[in-house]
Point group: C2
Chain length 438, copies 2
């Protein structure tokens, strides 16, 4: 293994004999010559096989066959990476004799009528170079987010996914038997991250969350990877929005810089972002949208999906920024742990971050006064004495500073960064009402 | 917030007026003077309150009260960080009037009879400085592991925790209703990481895994954070062991360097490690242990917990390395996906990594030939036609190179790095048969 060369590094070996290992990714005959592409984790390398005995070794073998090839690196403009392997000696490390159920050497269709096939054969389909890039970018996004947060003194926490009982939004939880007790799967680390502000001020977690959504839309899956962050000693809601835009601006710019070629080959849209994201109140957006389209949304308590798209397009054009904050959601839509706007009790300290037409994060400030929180719980019809809230309330009783944070969908961020149409395309093995495999 | 100073940075402000925010962490009267400790995410700062009006503001308030303090930084040898705040003006940001159910200003007892109290009051207990350090080190370990893996070109994957049905080890899984179908919680990302070798060669995941272990020992919890890695195109099992020891050596040295003070204050043992970990066959250890102790374990198929401790102690003394590999496990103990040792068919290409007396990782090479794998499945009484194995086998049918990897318990690593006695102490909110809260 020590002498193995990867496709990504081949340019440094022109004129030299190298050893490569990888998968047979493509094979074609051209004017009596055999050309193959060898795929490895660094990309693909073209190999020209002139020797008939060597070519014969591949007879009857299919794409996916694992090969070891030694040969000479030659500059060749028409080949990927500008190089080609000549005079190869081929060793079959592992033969594949069945034809792949899905094409790995051509871009796979992501049309909605083909998605089921895409997911059914994901195991092989992800070997497709373009599919693979989606998940390399996903890995990079996770990495850059964590690096940003560590730089900003956030402590990573790992909180339980098995909970004692439904607390928030009881309907859409998965329930199961836990040694004779009822347990549920965590819908979010919301309570835990707030609790941990009491210890570390700034915490984050990237992990799975579970929602029993009886829905098969392009927006909903039942297992979601969420980034959750929470920060204490904020002066106001504004601090939460600033941290959110700093993170998004930093991470997206980095991924667009360091993965420019990959994003280009996936036809990702150009990034149009400013360091400070425009802010619009929900009311303003309703008015603007109504005026522009003639569809009356004035007075609605939330945004319509078409409005989310419209305002992002508008902001991209007018502000040169395709991420925006929607602010001042009405109290009628609040969760019990949100803070009511001290300057206007009809609205909540809660903003949504929209990016390229989709909500990717919810960024509220929390009510941190124990007494007010209990009042808000009761108003929301929640019994503060319910054992599910016991430990959560403990954190407030023994002192939590002003704090806020955000829940941030990693799947949606990947979807929108690349310009996919359906969040499931951004997930290796998505789960929805109808899909529990692979 | 912009002008706030943290305890960790206070030394740079001697002689200056500063603004600090944090929790009342300790309060004592000494010769008519009031001393308080203010805790923030950077540590603690001592504040001397001479003014009676200021001191009075704290009357009736308990530890945990959230404070804002402005005052002058003065060098004071006897105080933490060698500085003290004088002439403070105090603002109560949030009063706490109830006494904490657990002490946050003195080291908490981790004696086994006190563990239940420790976990029951974890919400507040983690504000204890020493408890907090455990989880800061945990955060650092996660970070250093990922940084090592990214440097070594591993791609991070996020695989589903909701699975279609029990595959590996059917007994100890949590089952639940998933829109009318039976689903289970993932016990490990084993199959997914092997599948993904076919796309990225080198992959890793840090995430929760779930085991319905009907056990309350100090070693077992039902929700475990695992690092799973898998790497393709290995030459032999040796490559897996080398990657494992490189990771552990690199990460532990880094955490001992960068967190020396924290580890010292937690009474963590000194790190005794060499870059290359000694390797002993299971058979050799049984013989050595039997000879040294008179307890006959020769011929046993696994290690006893006492043997794990003994061999680590032995190696620490004799080899100056408290991490070792146990190699050549017998075929009788193998899992169907392990590779049988090509040089000795009575043993398996499987090693365990022991550190400070505990197994923290299992490092096998996998069988990558489809036909042999199917034979091994049948031998193990598993039906290769079972739908639970369909997608896994697809990956092999379409070509997987030689590969291996390891499953690595993050909880156990934290436990052993710090020198805790029970794995649950290393988990923020542990889950076992009897504990489903907080």
């Amino acid at each position: 293994m020590q002498n193995r060369i990867l496709s990504s590094g081949i340019k440094n070996h022109i004129g030299k004999e190298v050893l490569m290992q990888g998968w047979l990714h493509k094979k074609r005959l051209l004017g009596g010559l055999v050309f193959i592409l060898l795929r490895d984790r660094g990309g693909v390398t073209q190999v020209l096989i002139e020797d008939k005995d060597e070519a014969q070794k591949l007879d009857g073998l299919q794409l996916g066959t694992v090969l070891e090839i030694t040969g000479t690196v030659v500059a060749e403009e028409r080949a990927p990476e500008g190089t080609e392997i000549h005079s190869p000696k081929i060793t079959i490390m592992l033969p594949v004799t069945e034809t792949s159920p899905i094409e790995i050497d051509k871009p796979l269709s992501h049309k909605s009528e083909n998605l089921d096939t895409l997911f059914e054969y994901r195991v092989v389909g992800v070997r497709n170079i373009n599919e693979g890039k989606v998940f390399k970018i996903r890995s990079a996004l996770n990495r850059y987010i964590r690096e940003f947060l560590h730089k900003n003194e956030f402590v990573e926490i790992q909180t339980p996914k098995i909970l004692a009982g439904a607390t928030e939004g009881g309907a859409e939880v998965f329930k199961f038997d836990y040694f004779g007790k009822e347990a549920t799967l965590a819908q979010s680390p919301q309570f835990y991250k707030q609790i941990m502000v009491g210890a570390f001020e700034r915490v984050f977690e990237i992990g799975p969350t579970f929602r029993a959504e009886p829905s098969t839309t392009s927006r909903h899956v039942s297992e979601i990877t969420m980034l959750d962050i929470e920060m204490g000693f904020i002066e106001s809601h504004d601090d939460v929005l600033k941290m959110t835009e700093n993170l998004v601006f930093n991470v997206l710019n980095r991924v667009y810089e360091e993965h420019a070629e990959e994003l280009k080959s996936l036809n990702a849209p150009e990034l149009v972002l400013k360091a400070s994201f425009p802010r619009y109140t929900l009311k303003t957006i309703h008015e603007m949208y109504t005026k522009a389209t003639g569809i009356n949304t004035v007075g609605e308590k939330d945004m319509r999906p078409e409005e989310e798209k419209w305002i992002c397009d508008y902001s991209k054009k007018e502000n040169e920024c395709e991420a925006i904050f929607v602010t001042e959601f009405p109290v009628e839509s609040m969760k019990f742990y949100h803070m009511i706007n001290p300057k206007d009790p009809t609205t909540v300290c809660w903003a949504d971050l929209l990016f390229r037409g989709l909500e990717i994060a919810t960024c509220p400030m929390r009510e941190h006064h124990y007494d007010k929180l209990v009042v808000q719980m009761k108003k929301a019809g929640i019994d503060p004495e319910h054992p599910g809230y016991k430990y959560y309330l403990q954190a407030f009783k023994f002192g939590l500073p002003p704090h806020g944070g955000f829940g941030f969908g990693i799947d949606r961020l990947v979807e929108k960064t690349i310009g996919l149409e359906n969040v499931k395309e951004a997930i290796l093995f998505p789960r929805d009402m109808n899909r529990l495999t692979p």
